[in-house]
């Protein structure tokens, strides 16, 4: 097998996604001359950063066989702490540290409920989502935390050498996760747990610890996303983070991760995020109401999941 055809086989999903992205770009560009302008694409990029970094963490959690539907809540609660820290006139670095540590702690809590209390991840994170929303309402009620200072704006609006800062953030997050996953024993352990938790435990992998670390990392990234959110919008409102979890899961699945665990691709997830964000932007530009977003993402998920399921049935035969 030549290296090229091996690449084509290993990166099949990523190649399909790239093709799909090119196709929707061509479609939108033919309908709206504004779509392929530099200004529009950088706007899309700057708005994708939150979802991209949460997607990286979601990929790791899904690869471990888990899921976290509460990331939107983690983002919201971290954002509250960030907003309050700003209001208390704390310096920006401290504010960032507070936001990220709150996220990490909440993620760790999710991980502990899943790994130690043996509550299935979907139940555990649904429950903690309720709790996080409750915290959000109790703290800020119907009002907004607004008029926050713009000391962090360079994170979302700034450029370094003509390249948006967001690109560097995404590169750093994905580089870090890639090294964890592919150059560290931790990544092997994570895949092993996702493939067969019992076997992983038997060969001596610290299953509970690795899982908790994966959830904590996702929480950390959600905290980071909260920092970027507050930096971008400079307010905290009640419906913050409502769609983030579903979009991040959708991007991860589009990117080729198996919801049953053990399989996933960081690059695929990133491409999935790009696809979703371009789709949302393009639909608005060609005059489709943004209310159709849910239908489009849902329909897309159904198609991709169906193809995946039919493919694996073709490969492994039917179970019943």
């Amino acid at each position: 097998m030549t290296s090229l055809s091996r690449f084509a086989r290993d990166a099949q999903r990523e190649l399909i996604l790239v093709l799909a992205i090119l196709m929707i770009c061509a479609l939108f560009a033919s309908q709206s001359e504004f779509f392929l302008t530099e200004r529009n694409l950088t706007t899309v990029l700057r708005r994708s950063v939150d979802l991209a970094i949460i997607g990286a963490g979601m990929t790791l959690v899904i690869m471990s066989g888990g899921i976290d539907v509460s990331v939107g809540g983690i983002l919201a609660v971290s954002a509250i702490f960030i907003g309050r820290a700003f209001e208390a006139d704390l310096p920006a670095p401290i504010v960032v540290i507070i936001g990220v540590s709150v996220g990490t702690l909440l993620g760790l809590m999710n991980g502990a409920i899943c790994a130690k209390a043996k509550v299935p991840p979907i139940i555990a994170t649904l429950g903690s989502m309720y709790v996080f929303i409750a915290v959000l309402y109790l703290v800020i009620g119907g009002t907004w935390i607004s008029g926050l200072p713009d000391t962090l704006s360079f994170l979302t609006r700034g450029d370094v050498a003509g390249i948006p800062v967001g690109v560097f953030i995404i590169a750093a997050v994905y580089g870090f996760c890639w090294i964890l996953l592919h150059r560290q024993p931790w990544g092997r352990h994570l895949c092993a747990i996702g493939n067969d938790e019992g076997a992983a435990r038997l060969v001596g992998i610290p299953v509970d610890r690795v899982k908790m670390q994966a959830y904590a990392l996702l929480g950390l990234l959600a905290g980071l996303a909260a920092v970027l959110y507050v930096a971008r919008l400079r307010n905290v409102e009640v419906n913050i983070g409502t769609n983030v979890a579903l979009e991040a899961i959708a991007a991860t699945i589009l990117g080729g991760a198996n919801i049953r665990g053990g399989v996933g691709s960081l690059i695929g997830t990133l491409l999935g995020v790009v696809f979703i964000k371009l789709m949302q932007n393009g639909l608005v530009l060609i005059g489709v109401s943004s209310l159709w977003e849910g239908v489009v993402i849902g329909g897309l998920l159904v198609v991709v999941l169906s193809i995946d399921a039919l493919q694996s049935r073709y490969r492994y035969g039917r179970s019943l």
Binding site: A117, P120, I123, L136, L246, I259, S289, V295, I297, A309
Partner: protein, 331 residues
């Protein structure tokens, strides 16, 4: 499998739930002097049927294993409500529109059932996708505005009462709960549901058509969501595109709190009904005590996590071993 003795964990569960309900009632009456009054009864029962039907549908879907779950119940409720309202504005008789709405609910449930059982998508992902699609459709088709202007005589179902008991509780929820309880406990189909949930391979080998059975239960979940939508419509006289938001979580909460084992094979309608009473009493109690809605959400979240933890404590050692099976056991 279902011995009716106190040694049976599901019976123990019922006693536990009943005790919890009493505790909630005591706490609620301590919190508010208005709670222990006859006028609380219709107020409380008014909330029960809608979440009740969704919870019962969820219970049956989870019970039949797979592992099964239906995250789209709330979205189906919103979408069916809008469909009925829209049909009425087109000039269709309201009761004919309701019948068509029930058919529509069955169709939406059938989509879930086919995606999960015949195409083979894990239930969690399939219904997450349809949750997106259905609630998105509800929003997009109406542009976010509610459909109102339903006839006044249609309110008898959602607003009428017979001796302090709301009509939709007495005429829809109680019959549905009793019928499904009888079907589940005394009829062959019920045994098949437990068998499929306990060991789908064995169930398949003794000739139960597991996939058809489960598809049927997803359809039933859609039908129950449609009934809930109709009651909601009659109560509020308007179809809102966000009517069912968050109800999927609540329905899973009552099913699991009621003792339904999340991987299937164990659970009872009675447990779910008790759990619904607990959750509703809690909501009404906190509401009467003028406690913020946010606390209700928080308490429900803790209940959801805690109820699974209690399952582990009440002696089900297999939960630890089967962790991760929620995502599917076929590797």
């Amino acid at each position: 499998m279902m011995a009716w003795s106190t040694h049976d964990p599901t019976t123990k569960r019922l006693f536990f739930l009943f005790g919890l309900w009493l505790v909630v009632i005591v706490i609620s009456s301590l919190l508010s002097p208005h709670f222990l009054q006859a006028s609380t009864i219709p107020f409380l029962l008014q909330y029960v049927p809608i979440i009740g039907l969704l919870g019962i549908g969820q219970t049956l879907v989870i019970l039949s294993g797979g592992p099964g779950i239906d995250l789209s119940v709330g979205a189906m409720l919103s979408l069916v409500g809008l469909a009925v309202g829209w049909l009425f504005t087109l000039g269709v008789d309201i009761y004919a529109a309701c019948l068509l709405g029930i058919l529509f609910g069955a169709m939406l449930g059938a989509v879930n059932g086919v995606l999960i059982n015949w195409i083979g998508i894990p239930s969690l992902m399939a219904t997450l996708a349809t949750l997106f699609a259905y609630s998105g459709l509800a929003l997009a088709l109406t542009g976010g505005t509610p459909i109102g202007g339903l006839p006044d005589h249609f309110t008898w179902l959602g607003q009428g009462q017979i001796w302090l008991i709301p009509n939709h509780f007495l005429l829809v929820f109680v019959p549905v709960a009793i019928i499904l309880h009888v079907v589940l406990t005394y009829m062959r189909v019920g045994r098949h549901i437990y068998a499929a949930g306990n060991d789908e391979r064995a169930a398949h080998l003794i000739g139960i058509r597991v996939r058809r059975l489960r598809t049927g239960l997803y359809i039933l979940s859609g039908v129950l969501a449609a009934l809930a939508a109709i009651m909601n419509l009659s109560w509020f006289q308007a179809a809102r595109p966000d009517a069912g938001i968050g109800m999927e979580l609540l329905s899973i909460t009552v099913a699991v709190l009621g003792g339904t084992y999340i991987f299937g094979g164990q659970g009872r309608i009675a447990g779910t009904v008790l759990a619904i009473m607990i959750v509703t009493t809690l909501q009404v109690g906190l509401q009467l005590a003028n406690v913020s809605q946010a606390w209700q959400l928080g308490v429900i979240g803790v209940l959801l996590i805690g109820s699974v933890g209690i399952n582990t404590l009440l002696g089900r050692q297999s939960l630890g071993q089967s962790l991760g099976r929620l995502m599917g056991q076929a590797k």
